[in-house]
Amino acid sequence: MPTIHVEGRPYEVPEGLNLLDACLSLGFDVPHFCWHPALGSVGACRQCAVKQFKDENDTKGVIVMACMTPARDGTRVSIADAEAAEFRRSVVEWLMLNHPHDCPVCDEGGECHLQDMTVMTGHDYRKTRLPKRTFRNQDLGPFVAHEMNRCIECYRCVRFYRDYAGGRDFGVFGAHDHVYFGRMESGALASEFSGNLVEVCPTGVFTDKTLHSHYARKWDLSTAPSVCVHCSLGCNTLPGERYGMLRRVRNRYHPDVNGYFLCDRGRYGYEFVNGERRLTLALARGEPVSPEAAVEEASRLLAAARGVVGIGSPRATLETLFALRELVGPERLCSGLAARDLEPLRRAMRGLSGAVPAASLADVRAADAALLLGGDPTGGAPMLALALRRSARVAPVARLASHVPAWNDAAVRQAIQRESGPLFVASTAPTRVDDIATARVVSAPADVARLGFAVARRLGAAGDEVRLHRDAHAFARDAAAALAAAERPVVVADAASGEAVVAAAAEVAEALAARGSGVRLALALPECDSAGLALAGGFPLEDALASLRSGEADTLVVAENDLFRRLPPALAEELLSLARGVIALDCVRTPTVERAHVALPAATFADGTGTLVSSEGRAQRSFAAMPPSGDARESWKWLARLAGDAGGGGRWETEDAVLDALSGLPGLAGARDAAPPASFRLVGMKVAREPHRYSGRTSMRADVDVKEGQPPADADSPLAFTMQGFQGFPPPPLVPRYWAGGWNSVQALLRYQVQAGGALRGGSPGIRLLDGGRSDGGSPSAEAGRFPVPEAFEPRRGEWLLVGAPAIFGSEELSSLSPSVASLAPRPYVGLSPEDAERAGLREGGRVRVGAGEASAELPLRLVPGLPRGVAIVPEGLRAMPAEVRPGGYARVEAAGEEAEPR
């Protein structure tokens, strides 16, 4: 490890850093703007100037940009040097020449990196009287507000948006002192990761537009460490509450999961918590009742029941699934998924706990080759797509390693140009990562699976050779070669693409592992606790229906599940009407809640505490940022009370008690240790959710009661709903905000990391559950039998295979209740390849009738170039989508109109 001398004292630093990175990680305060741990250095802002000395006798030194200078062994620098300090002060003064007088009305204020750096460098007075340069702003859509006057030209935004996230509709314009960061013209930003501009931009140019409409400063937000509930990846978040309303969601850094970024669904999906469909009161036959009355009524239903089926959900926490299982008994636990969704999930879980370790997002970002099978991850697991973009740079950057350090972003980009990969994409429809693919094939799901099996067999998996079309054959050959040559390749698939595709992906990964490769398997699962649901067990919904039909059971307890999203409407209807009693628990009013005899209001991620298992098998605890709204509480608490009324004795009162109980289940033993227990104290205190500068404590409730009451107690977590408590650096699973002396902005995160952009002090939050299974139980996928290679897909005449395409905005249940997300949801459509449409005499935008069997619905037609013959795509899970159109089977697609009666 090289030794560098800062202010005359020696320090050991890791290999291959720049001076800025090294000094910041050592704990020195070095002002900077353009350098970002995830984006590298470009030397654009000149703010990180330090003095570098030749040797110990050199007293004069030269000013260098710390971010552009390698931290080589023997480097001597001074940050405090008077000349360097004066240089940095002048740089801020220049940057401030045109800066508007906006802080009071700027949403960045109080967490502004520019404010911090201005204070840090000591600049305080604008001497010039020259008029300021101004800009007009653009409307960038529902997520990001634009205020260009505040720009300091650090280029972080374009570097993130274009170079990191692959966006094309945003860039830099102009020259000289009128450099403009924006789009060609006003319009919604097209990148699914645009919300990160809010955190990447060190100033108030890009701010959170949803926050603007109910604005609160960072110092006024009550925050807690949380986990995103809008897909299975388990990105870490920091939701913030004020006056009982959830105000925003920010990124919480997790080195192995989301790193510095979130997708826009995760950042903006939160509005459902405040939305009008939120359920905060208990209902009995649709009428609001007191919680006691509701529990009494529910207990009565349970006592009178001949048999009870508990219906779980992939978006319920582990605690809730366990409490449900205890209430109804393991043999009466239904997964809440239809067989066609449960089978791929089980298959995926088998793959993830097999011989190949599940890939974390960090593994994907670091992979030197990747194979993507099936659907586009952008829709169902967006950050996986961003991770793939990172992985596509790994090999090209590694080739430069001997002469260009990876942090030297401008040089690296110049050298690699558009080189990318190896990334092999075999998908069922065109994807958003096609632009970086080494090779790609678009074909029907069965053919994608065949292709996967072909790759696996080339890599040595047992079984006959799979016959492929000519271009697929070349693809399989090249993909197998690239994967075999890589050191840590990754195989990526989405469980929503079906069992065959998942099985193929697992087989490829296993074949690679058998060759000794450091391969990882990344399988996106449908929802935030799909993995937890699979571990908790449960039969498919069809079996629940059968037991109601047979009269074996007559009462349902539905935990956070809308059956109308899982089953065709007729079957959901039948299931609910066969039940004599339906007790539904949910955080929003779903059609199932509306049909329930008793509805109990459940807490959301923002006002409840719980554990979710991500698709990586990582159990992560998510803590409530605010006390429960209205009568809502965590579903497991309702279920424990019902169990108590039924004679079970109301066993668990607290989160820790339920965690202790559930860790007795196989595979879930580690879940308890995902975060410290509620009894955990730091210097005798709980961790404060409210920051030390929280304002309005003696005034915010004074209109109701002038006496300040006790803050709500929290028996379920080591966090407190007050500003009294530990305000320092708690262990990572308990970090409620990033704040450090002199660093009010998100850049304070530096002080929570061992190394900028690296590990957190105190380790990574969460416990990987599936790794444990692997060590004690061999390879379950082998004993479970191999999946047969499916027959090649044959297009049918007059009928198309309907393939579901999840949309990032609109397809996920909860986020689609967020107005900003909903405004970007696609309108329902059916997509055909232009060739198929022409053959069928259908036109773009024309109305077509899509139907299977009796059911049919009218939809506009969209032409999707590159779609395989005989395949039609429909967006999945949209609220506006007619229930008759369900992906997965074959359907007629014909021009709508009188003459087109069903044949």
Binding site: P100, H101, D102, C103, P104, V105, G109, G110, R129, L130, P131, K132, R133, T134, F135, R136, N137, E147, N149, R150, F173, G174, A175, H176, D177, H178, Y180, G182, H212, S213, H214, Y215, A216, R217, W219, D220, Y243, R693, Y694, S695, G696, R697, T698, S699, M700, A702, D703, V706, K707
Partner: protein, 171 residues
């Protein structure tokens, strides 16, 4: 002994000094304009609310007795949707006035605000807002800020150049 007599003499002399006690409330005391008494919210020279709901007074307040919620009106101006001061907690330190970047919140030389019921000391925006600019007759925050509002577009503020053309390449 001598010291004792001197003290008695000095006390006796006070009987002839000018009286410091004023017979309040018959006579009203003169309080300088910078006296830190009852807090008001002022208006700008144009007669509109000065407060831009920046939350700085609230965070500066050592007893946390100010709370508000920001909102934006149809002219693009930030304003407080509600603004509350709990005077039963206020210590009249004047930190809020010092923190206020718009001269909106000001302390006045009025201290006559006793109440029998504590809740009556909770003042809402309607109780705080006065009709004039208070101690600072001229200051108008929106004229110097870079944010556009109705009636003041980009580049029309004080010391601003007209908006730059982002597509222009001329120096």
């Amino acid at each position: 002994m001598f010291a004792l007599l001197r003290s008695m003499w000095e006390v006796f002399l006070h009987a002839f000094r000018k009286r410091a006690t004023i017979p309040y409330p018959e006579r009203v005391a003169f309080l300088p304009p910078r006296w830190r008494g009852r807090i008001i919210l002022s208006r700008d020279p144009g007669g509109q609310e000065r407060c831009v709901a920046c939350y700085l007074c609230a965070v500066a307040c050592p007893v946390d007795c100010i709370s508000l919620q920001a909102a934006e009106d149809e002219d693009g101006r930030r304003y407080p949707e509600f603004f509350r001061i709990n005077f039963s907690r206020c210590i009249f330190c004047g930190f809020c006035e010092e923190a206020c970047p718009t001269c909106a919140i000001q302390l006045t030389p009025d201290f006559e605000m006793s109440e029998y019921h504590r809740p009556n000391l909770v003042y809402e925006k309607g109780d705080l807002l006065i009709s004039g600019p208070g101690k600072y007759p001229d200051y108008d925050f929106w004229k110097v800020s870079g944010v556009a509002i109705r009636g003041k577009g980009k580049g029309e503020g004080v010391e601003e150049r007209p908006p730059a053309d982002p597509r222009g390449l001329m120096p």
